[in-house]
Amino acid sequence: MPNITYYDLRHVTGQITHIDIDNGVFESAGTTFFNKAVLRVISNTGWGILQIDNYQPCTGRKFDELLQEACKLSAITQEQVRLGDVSRGVLAVPAMKEDPRSVSIEEKSAILAEIEKGAIHPSVVNRRANYIERVEQVAFSDSSGNEYAYEMCRSGFNVLAVASRNGNTQMGYEREHSIHGFNLRQHRDLGKKAADIAVALLDAKGAHGGKMKAILDPELAGVFAHEAVGHASEGDLIQEGNSVLKGKTGQKIGNDLLTIVDDPSIHEFGFDPVDSEGVAVCRTEIIKNGIVNAFLHNRESLAAIGNGVAGHARGMPGEPPLVRMSNTFIEAGDATDPEIFEECKNGIFLKGSRGGQVDPGRGVFQFNAEYGYLVVNGECTGMVRDVSLSGEILTTLHNIALCGNKRVMSPGYCGKGGQSVPVSDGAPTILLCDAVVGGSGMD
C-alpha cells in the first residue's frame, strides 16, 4: 500500500420525491433513488479522488483496492496538500414539525394543486408549481477514526405565474423551502401572490440605468451579501489568488455598521450538522464592523492561508467538497423602515431576487431584483421591473448607509464548480447609496 497520509469517505444514499403541475395538468410525480460516495486520499502530495456510483460499503481487501485506485490518481498531483487542525462534533438535526414522508403523495399533490390554482387570473396564461422533497442519509468516516452519520430532509415548492397582455409577458415567482418539515399547508396563498405580481408587472415600467439610492428588501440584501462578500471570502479562492479580499484582513472595506456572517450551525435552509470533511460547524464573522475579519475554510485552505475556521466544506452526494457558504447574512442594525425611506428620499425600492453572480478576482458583482418601486419624497410610487445592480466589492460596501432592525432569511441554492448546494441568505432592509442600477427604460 502506498504511503497514505489521510483518507475520508462520504457516502450518501437517499430519495427525491417530486410533483410537477403545469396549467392544471399533473405532468409528473414520483420518487427516484440515489446512492453515491466519494473517497478522497492524500498520498505523498495531493488528492486522489474516487467518485463512486452505487457504493456498497466494504472493508478489508476490497476497501484497500479502492484506496489503491485513489492513490494511483494522486500520483500525478504536484502540490503538497496539508490539512489544518479542526474541531469535531456533530449537531443534532432539528426535529421536523411534520415529516413530509408521513404525508401521502396524493395529499401533497392536492395541496400543491390548490396553490397552483390560486394563480388563476384572467391575465395569467401559464401557471406552474413544483414540489421537491429530498431525503439524504449521510455517513462519513476518515483515517483518523472520525465517524458520523445523520439524516436530513429538505422540502419545499416553487410556483410560477406568467401574465401576458398585447405581447408583453411578465412573471411572478414564489418559493418556500425548509429543513423544518412539510411546508405546503401554511403557504396556500403563494399562487395568488405570484399571479398578483405577474399581473402588476404588466403595467410596470423598465428601470432607468444610472447611479441612485436603492433600498434593498431583506431577500435582495441577502443576495447582495452572498455575491458581494460571501464568494470572495471562500478560502479556496483566496488560496488560488482569485479574490480581491486576499491580503485584506484587518482592512476596512465597509461602513462601521456592517457585519456579515456565514453560519452553517443555525437552523436555516443552509444548515449542516457537520461539514463534508467531518469538521464541526460554527459561525464565521467575515466582515466585522466594516473590517475584513475572517475567511471561510475547508481543512486545506485553513492550513494554507489561515485566518478563520474550517467547517465550511460542502459537497453534493458523490462530489468532492468545496469551500461553500451556508447561511449568509448581514446583521441587523437599528434603523426602522420609515427612517430608511426618509433617508432615501428619492431613489428606488427593490424586492425579491432572480439571483446574482460575482467575479471574485476582479471584485465585480451583479445581482437582480424581481421588481421594485420608484421612491419619491420617501414614498413608494410607480412599479418598475427587471432591475439589476452591479458593484465593486472593495468600494460598494462603504455605500451601505443604513441597516434595518429586523433580519429575514430566504432559502435558495448556490452553484460553484458544477455543484449546487442549499443555502439561505438574509439581511435586514438596507439603504445603499450610489447604487449602479442597470436598465434601458425610457420615458
Binding site: T31, G46, Q78, S164, G209, G363, Q366, R385
Partner: protein, 434 residues
Amino acid sequence: MRWWAAVEWIDQLLREGQKSVDEVEVFYVQGRSISADLKQKKINLASASEDCGLGIRTIHKGRIGSSSTNDPAHWKECLDAAIASGHLATSLPWEGLPGAQDISQTPLTFDPSMKVEPASALALLEQMLAGAEEHAADVTAGSAGLSTATVTLANSRGAYYTDSHTGVSLSLEAIHGQSTGYEFDHSSFIDKVDPFHVGERATFFAHESAEGKDVTTGDYDILLSPLAYGELLGSVFIPALNGRNVHAGRSRFAECMGKPVADPLISMYDDPFLPGASGSVTWDAEGMPTRRIDFIRDGVLEAFAYDLKTAYRYGKTSTASAVRGGYGGSPGIGHHNFIVDGKRGDVTDERVIYVHSVVGAHTANPMSGEFSVEISNAFWMENGEFQEPIRTAMLSGNVFTMHNEIGGLSHESRAIGSLILPSVKINKQRIIGK
C-alpha cells in the same frame, strides 16, 4: 459491465413492465471519467468516476410515470416506482413510443483514440500552462477532464439502440492585478481541442484587460463574442423555441409563427449530423430519428422543437428534439447542435465595444427577454484589433429585440457547449458606465 451483460436485465425489465402498463422505456448510461485540477500552477487533485444509472418511463392509458436509480440491481423497485408515479399523472393524448427503425448506430461523437487516463489529463494541463506563459498573468486555477460513456435506449415497441460518446474539456483561469481572464475548450475528439490556445487566451485576457478605462453611459455598437452571445441566447431565446413553452404560454414566440422575429441576416437551426460537433446524434432520447430543424430562416420563425409528449398533446409532430440531462427524470425538449448562421462579414471595420463574457446572464427575464448584466473583458475594438480595455460597465437590453438590431456576423464560429455561434455585432445597445 459490458453492454451485452446489460441486455438480460433490460429485456426482463421490459417484459415485467408490460404486465402492468401499456409501454415501457429504459434509458441506461454507463460512463467513466478522469479529471485533474490545478491550484495555481500545480496539480492539486485528480479524480475518477465510474457512473451508471438507469431511467425508466412507463406509459399507461396516457399517464406517464418515471423513476431512476443508479443501482441497476434494483431495477424492479425502480420499475414499481415509475408505475406508481404514473398513477398520479394526468392522462394526456398518447399515440405510442417509436418502434425499431433503421437508424445508423455508427457513433458520431466517439473518439477511439481518447485515453481516459490520468496521464492524458496531465499532458493537457501541461500544454495549457505552456500557453499561459505567453502573457504576464498568474494562473489561479484550471482543469482538464476526459470521459467516455455508453448510452442504451430500449422500449417495449422493439427499439433498442446504443451509442458511445467521448469528451474532453479544458479550462484555465488567470489574474493580473485585479483583472481576470478565463478560457475553455471542449470537444468529443481529443485532437480538436487546443490546450495551448486555452492557456494563451486566459492570460491574454487577464493581462490585456488590466488598467481599463471607464466608459460613459450611452448607446454603443457592441460585438458579443460567441461566449457572451451564448450566455444570453441560451437563457432566454432558445427556451422560447421550445414547443412546450410555446403551447403553455411561456414563450414570447407563441403567436409569431411565419413572422419575422429577427434581422433577415439571421438563421437558426439544429443540425444533429454536423461532423465533429459534440451534440451530433442519429436518434433522440426517445428513439426518434433525428433531423435538421430550421427554427428561423432569414429572420422568419419557421419551427418549434417538440418531443413526443408535447407533439401528441398539441397535435404536432415530434422534431426528435428529446434530450436527457442524465439518466434521471423524463426526457425534455432541447436541441442537439444549435447553430446561428447567416451572411458573414467583417464586424470590426468600425469601432465597437467587444464583450468577451458577461456576469449575471442567468438573471435575465426569461419571459420578456430584458436583461442588465456586467460586462467582462470588454475592449474597444477596430479592424480586428483589441484597443483600450473597458474597466467596468453594465449592458442593458432585451435578448429578443436585440436580434432586430444585428450589425453583422463574424467569419468564424465557435462551439459553446451545444451552441455553435459566431461573434455577433449588435447596433446601438445601452451601456451604463460608472
